[in-house]
Amino acid sequence: MPRDKSDRRGAKSEGRGPRRRGMGRRKVCRFCADKAMLIDYKDARGLGNFLSERGKIIPGRITGTCARHQRQLTVAIKQARTVALLPYTSAYP
């Protein structure tokens, strides 16, 4: 839990890492980590991971997706919605 870096920077307040509120690992953009992973509007299953239960697009700050890939992702999700591969919302009559 405590991060090792915290000891190095003079003991400011408690021994937490610099500028990093809360704990938990740093999230890495999945698309940067795995170059083979392509963003494709036809891949409803893959894109579904970036939707909330309601079908809303999850912000990159939560999924860890970098800005560049998040932009590509939102476009792909919207294209997929157009052709009904993904829902606009879950609550549907």
Partner: protein, 131 residues
Amino acid sequence: MADRRYETLVLIHPDQGEPGAKELATRIRTLVEEQGGAVTQVQEWGLRDLAHTIGKQRRAFYILFEYRVASKGLDEIQRTLKLMDPVLRFVSVRRPEGAPPAPPRPAKREREREDAEFERGEFEGLGEGEV
């Protein structure tokens, strides 16, 4: 002329039936070719459930076309598709030159199983958000 790579996914009204959808596929293919396009791939995904209704329909035949045309040709293709009544909707996307061709869809049986899994496990999202 500078032909570009495109891909179009077309949704066809379910009342057309399988043969009707197939016929439309060839019609659209000739449409692309009339516009000076070279069709590199046609994928028929068959009748699929829609994620939301379109024109009161819950299902549609999906057909994917990959081709190269000049952008003028694409304009004409899109215009004609809009006028085709059995076409519920379509999306055209420019594909980068080096992109691999769309991988074939898994066989139907396998796909249904995967889709069922998807449906169940699907939208739990990535909840663990630390904001």
